[in-house]
Every structure is written in structure tokens, then in C-alpha cells.
Symmetry: C2
Subunit: 419 residues, 2 copies
């Protein structure tokens, strides 16, 4: 079965808001084994929405529409869906109860404008939106499905996960999908592809491989598909485990971990499981490492803190880097990064420490140390390991992101005692 996505909203067409809804929905559907055929963004224009809905209903099995459900006059989705499905607006008891409940729980009075949120086309089924007042509406016609969701990202996210995807799976009797992520670092995508070519060629037919490269690492995703049956599912899991073993035989030294989406998630999991603590000393990454860790709930269990040592004075005063080291080797040097990592580990009393120093760009390089020259260190009570990166790019954000992932991978390797 395949799905089309339509996101409605003028704000998406002037480019001031990045349309994350489309990618979030596509990822969820894809992970649930449903293919997305097309995604469309249109403004709050009746005829443009109509055309997109009509095309999508012709070409796909299911159509998911977000946006245009607010109580203001621009929002025309409900009116259009009434016309499209030859229905009329009626007040839904379920939806009204939900609006009333949400207003009560926030301590507000429900106004007539709010009450109008409970009006839905008579022919739809309302899927309850626990997080907001806009209804989620499910329509069926001639074996095809259209679902209208609110455009607010966290409401859409919750509804997709808890209402829409389970009901699509049930309606279309979709296969069960099993995913396995393997995080690979220290080898470029094309070299990795050459290295694992024999294994990839020999993959079982029901297991697909995707390369998902991000900032200095590659996420390999295996996707296995099976009918909805417990025995077959167990067999699939065994088959995937064997397949992963084959990958380790070829590329084990580049594999940092499994079953996480990102390296910061893997760091979070590794430190939490081992009961270890971490401190950071960042120069060229400027706080990016700290904020990726602290963006995860529960990070206070292991993250002691970090120092963003942008100036040399701060490297000396807050991290205890020797003045003579900075004089002799410069801020971007193996000696400095080592003292930064050891200094912050000691100063903040952590088991492990990460340090970065480099020239992120776009300018600031010299012939000896061009833009993209970065030193990374990881320190434990047993001492520090350092690594020189030559990123060969003047793009600042890319250099920050690649340095960050390199530091995370080095930390995980040190903790897990991988080579």
C-alpha cells in the first residue's frame, strides 16, 4: 500500500517554517512498512487543496492531510472535505467532549469559537486528539482512506503514533516491519559500501539495507518484513541477528553501536547503563556537544557540566591549560586538546571527558593549519586519547557536526574498550 501526504498552510509556502511534519510523517510511515509516494505542500487556497486531494486519492491507497483545522477563517479544510465527500458539518459528541475536557483541564472557559472546533463532516469517524482541540478525522471511500490531522507538530506526532498508524495497519493488513540500526563511524559511505559489498550482495531477500549518512558517520538500517504472525516474527529476528553478525565480521572495527538513531543517544545510553559521568571542554564545537546531550531528558544523571573555552584565557583559567603549552603549540594542537580534556575531567570531577579545539571556518586558517583542522581528545582516569581531523571543508556547521560525532564515537569506543 502507498500513502500521499498533503501539508496545508501559507506559512509553509513562504519558507519561514521548515516543513518537519512531512519528514516526521514519512519516517513513521516508512518505519511501519508503508511507502510514501508523494508529499505536497499547498497554501490555504480551496482549489489548490482540492486538486491535491483529488490527485492523491486517485494515485494512493491512503491520503494524510495536515493543517487548516484552526477556528480562524483561513482554515478551510473541513469545508472542503464536506464538499469532497458530499457530506455536511455536524457537531460531534466525541469531539465536543474532548474540547470541553481540554478547556476544563487548562482552567479556561469554552467560547462559541472553541465549540465550533467540534464540528466535523457527518461521514467521518473522529479519532480522539488527546493533546488538542482540533479533531482528527478518518474518511473511507471505495477502499481508500483519507485522514485529516491538525498541523501542530506535537499533536500530529501523537496522533500518528497512537491513532493513525495503528488504524492504517489494521485497515490495510500491513506486514510487520522490524528495523535494526547499526551506527558506523570512521569510514566514508563509498568506502564502507566497497568493504561490505559481498555481505550486501548476499542479504536475504526479505531484508533490505539503507545507508543513511550524517555528518561524519553512517547509519546502516536493516529492514525485515514479515506477515503478522508471532512465529514468523521470531524467525525474522533470528535471521536479522545472524545478518548483523556477518556485518561485524567485515566491518566490526567501524561499528560504534546498535539500536540508536544518533550517536548522542548511544552516548546517553552507554553512560547511563555503565553509571559513568562525563564533562566536556569545547572550543570549536562551541557548546554543541553539551546541548545535544542535555537535550535528552535524564542527562543530568551523567552529565556533570561543560566548559565552552572559546578564548585562550578561558582555556587557561577555567581548564588549567598551561600558558606555555598555548605559547609553544597554539590553541589548535594535540598538547592543548589533551590538557583541555584532562583539565575539565579533573575540575568537574567526572569519569570521562571530551575536548575539542579547531578551526571551524569559514575563515581563520593558516597554511599549516587550514580551516577544518581539528583536534579531539577523550580522557579517563587512565589518561587521554587524541585524534587529528582534517575535515577539508570551510563549512562551519558541517565541521562542528562532524567534530561532535567524532568525539561521541571516540568516547563510546573508549568506554566499551573497542579498538
Amino acid at each position: 500500500m502507498d500513502v500521499s501526504i498533503i501539508n496545508i498552510g501559507d506559512e509553509l509556502l513562504i519558507g519561514q517554517v521548515v516543513n518537519t511534519n512531512a519528514s516526521t510523517m514519512a519516517r513513521m510511515l516508512s518505519e511501519a512498512g508503508m511507502a510514501v509516494r508523494r508529499t505536497v505542500v499547498v497554501g490555504d487556497v480551496y482549489q489548490d487543496i482540492w486538486n491535491s486531494v483529488d490527485e492523491a486519492m486517485r494515485s494512493s491507497d491512503a491520503v494524510l492531510v495536515t493543517g487548516g483545522l484552526g477556528p480562524t477563517k483561513d482554515d478551510i479544510t473541513k469545508k472542503l472535505l464536506c464538499d469532497y465527500f458530499h457530506s455536511e458539518l455536524v457537531e460531534s459528541g466525541v469531539a465536543l467532549e474532548n474540547v470541553r475536557h481540554i478547556f476544563e483541564s487548562r482552567g479556561y472557559e469554552m467560547t462559541p469559537v472553541n465549540r465550533a472546533q467540534a464540528l466535523v463532516p457527518a461521514c467521518c469517524e473522529v479519532l480522539n486528539n488527546d493533546l488538542g482541540t482540533a479533531p482528527c478525522m478518518w474518511f473511507e471511500r471505495e477502499g481508500k482512506v483519507l485522514v485529516s490531522l491538525p498541523g501542530v507538530p506535537f499533536e500530529m506526532d501523537w496522533l500518528m503514533r497512537n491513532r493513525v498508524i495503528p488504524k492504517l495497519q489494521e485497515t490495510f493488513h500491513t506486514d510487520i516491519i522490524v528495523h535494526k540500526n547499526i551506527l558506523v563511524q570512521g569510514i566514508g559511505e563509498s568506502f564502507l559500501s566497497d568493504l561490505i559489498e559481498p555481505w550486501e550482495t548476499a542479504l536475504p531477500e526479505n531484508i533490505k539495507l539503507a545507508y543513511l549518512p550524517v555528518a561524519g558517520m553512517v547509519k546502516l538500517r536493516l529492514t525485515g518484513k514479515t506477515r503478522n504472525n508471532q512465529n514468523i516474527l521470531n524467525n525474522l529476528n533470528i535471521q536479522i541477528a545472524e545478518t548483523v553478525q556477518g556485518l561485524y565480521n567485515l566491518a566490526g572495527s567501524y561499528i560504534v553501536g546498535e539500536d540508536c538513531e544518533t550517536l548522542e543517544e548511544l552516548v546517553h545510553k552507554t553512560l547511563t547503563e555503565h553509571g559513568l559521568t562525563l564533562a566536556t571542554a569545547e572550543s570549536c564545537t562551541g557548546g554543541n556537544i553539551a546541548r545535544l546531550l542535555t537535550a535528552q531528558a535524564g542527562s543530568s544523571a551523567y552529565f556533570k557540566g561543560g566548559i565552552v573555552a572559546y578564548s585562550n584565557e578561558v582555556k587557561e583559567s577555567a581548564l588549567g591549560v598551561q600558558h606555555s603549552t598555548l605559547e609553544a603549540h597554539g590553541a589548535v594542537s594535540e598538547e592543548t586538546v589533551r590538557e583541555m580534556a584532562e583539565g575539565v575531567r579533573e575540575c568537574l570531577g567526572a569519569d570521562y571527558a571530551i575536548a575539542t579545539t579547531g578551526i571551524a571556518g569559514p575563515t581563520g586558517g593558516t597554511p599549516e593549519k587550514p580551516v577544518g583542522t581539528v583536534w579531539v581528545a577523550v580522557a579517563s582516569v587512565q589518561g587521554a586519547e587524541t585524534k587529528l581531523l582534517q575535515l577539508g571543508s570551510t563549512r562551519r556547521q558541517q565541521n562542528i557536526d562532524r567534530t561532535t560525532n567524532q568525539a561521541f564515537a571516540m568516547l563510546i569506543r573508549m568506554i566499551c574498550q573497542k579498538p
Copy 2:
């Protein structure tokens, strides 16, 4: 005139990559006064691409297509465009020279696969892509335009700015557009809308207003339009300046600044212009403030460094917060945030300092201090100002973002001595 955007790529349909190209292109076009009617994402499927191109060519004046230009077999855009425009692939001298030049400058040998990048439909005009080997192709038919661009974001970005938008403006004789951004903070969108309603109603007909709310602030954007004529443009600029003055009369106390896209950009500009330095002490924002500042090239001129003081020990040892303060008032308190700001300012030797401490969520609240309780401080040599935020949300990232913008606004107000 209006434009449709088509982004081609299977990777966009599985949601592993957020389609930033669509929003970047939409923003650039919108800022240049061209309306985007629709954006579509399709996979590397000939018929799906054909249908999207054909629909777009019927409904819009110009169609911009990204992706599908690599040398691999999945990439079918060029073949399809040959068919669509009844043309055939020929080697373009201009494109070949560009490919050769790029390989030479990187010190690589050009292979036959690379040379194939110079093949283009005979009927198109090649717009030189200074940053990559994939050509940018311009097609015209019956007064309409189709442009095919590479999907690599930084190449697309450069080509849009330097080649495509100027040529679209010339071809369609578009109006000149003048934008004016005003950054407003400390008032919600709906209250702001009520406050400035008389001003908004009286706006001149050729000046449009957009509300662009982001994490605790609202960006107001005025857009003025005029024919391409220097005298008229001068008049428009005077008219916009007068309009902005009217806004100050009503909402001046909420206006933080002008002519920037974000508050971090305004902080960057303000500190640079005033020759002042900054240090940060972050607890609940976890490094987000530091990384937003350091993501901007040139931030080392004013940013001394920051301390991410996640644990109480670090608040004491690195920032000099009194043990008795933490004991008596807790980490999330006015007293603590004040000592954090003053401590980091002194310790890192900066003119100004920002500090944050709070409960970002989703859990960790108490009845007295629920999730979303945050204290922010800004310190100068004259002392510190503090502010309590009650964010009323358990969404971690949102709370981090809103705290960050609150801190930036307080800093700018203190430096510029606004109330």
C-alpha cells in the same frame, strides 16, 4: 507570477532527511517577491516525476526542480527532461569546462562517469554551477520556465542566489521587494495583534505585514513592493521607515531590534558593534545559548566562553555559587541564577554574562516549582537583573528555546538600556 517547486529523491520520502531545500527555496523566492504556489516531493520514479512536472508546468509560471542529477543510475531527471522537452542529450562545452575545472582544483582525475555530468538536453541553457559538477539547466517553453538544480543544499543555495533568482526577476520583470524585520519579545502573538490592530488596519496598501512567531518571540515582517525604479524605491524606503515609527509608538517597549532574522544574530551584531564581551552560565539550556552564538562566524571576537553547570557541584566549583545559597533556595532560584551570572562574568572576565537555571522537563517538577519554572539573569559590571519564567509546558526543547530567546532579549535590552 507564481512558482512550483519539485524536490526529487527517495531519501526525502522515507523521512530520514528533512527537506530543507523546499523551505530555503520558498523563502528566497518569497523574499524576492515571487509567490510559491505548491511544493511537491516525489521519489526517483519516472512517471511520478513526469506527472508532477506536467501539473506544475500547467499551473505555474515557473517550475524549479531539484535532485536526480548525480551520475548514478537512479538519477533520471535529465533523461525525463529530454523527453518532456522533445530534446536529446548533448555534451555542453560550458558544463564540461566546469566539471574539468572542479576536478583539477581538487587535484582529482576526471573519469568518464564524471564527464557524463556535462551531458544536458540540447534545448536548455546551462547556468554555471561554481560549486559542483552537476549542471543547472534553464528551459523555456511558451512563456513558462523550468529550472533543474542539483539537490545538494549548498549548491542549490548558491545557484538560487546567484543564477536562478536574478534570471527569473529579469525574465518575468518582477517588482522590487523591500523587507523590514522587527523583533518583538515579551508579548504573545495574539496580545501583540490586539495591541497593534489600529496600526495594522491603517497600513498603506503596498505594505504587507506577516507575523512569524518563534519560541517566545515574534518576528514582524513588513514587505513593501514597487516597480523597478530608483526614485520609487527611495520613496518606498521612506514610507517603510515612517510605518515602523508608528509601530514603535504602540509597541516600542516590546521591540528588541530590527533588521535581523534571529535574536542570536542581533546579539552578535550588538556585541560586535559595541565592542563588548560575553560569558554564559547555562544550566537548563545546557549549552544551547553558547552553540547558537558560536555557530556564527566571528563570534570569537566577543564570546569569551561559557560554563554548562548541570550539577550543583559545578555551580559551586566552576561558578562560585555559595553552598549556602543552593541549600537555602535550591538550584532553581533567583539567588542562584544571580550568583551564576555574576560568577561566570568575573571568572571569565567578560563585560556581560547570561545565566539560566530551571526545570526544562518533561519531568522533575514539584508543586512549588513545576516543570517550566526557569530563572534567567543578565549581569554587567553594574550588577545583575533577573527574571522568572513560568513556561507552563513540559516540552523540553520548547522550554530550552524559549529560555534562550528570553536571555538574548534581556541582554540586548540591558546593553541598549531599553526598559
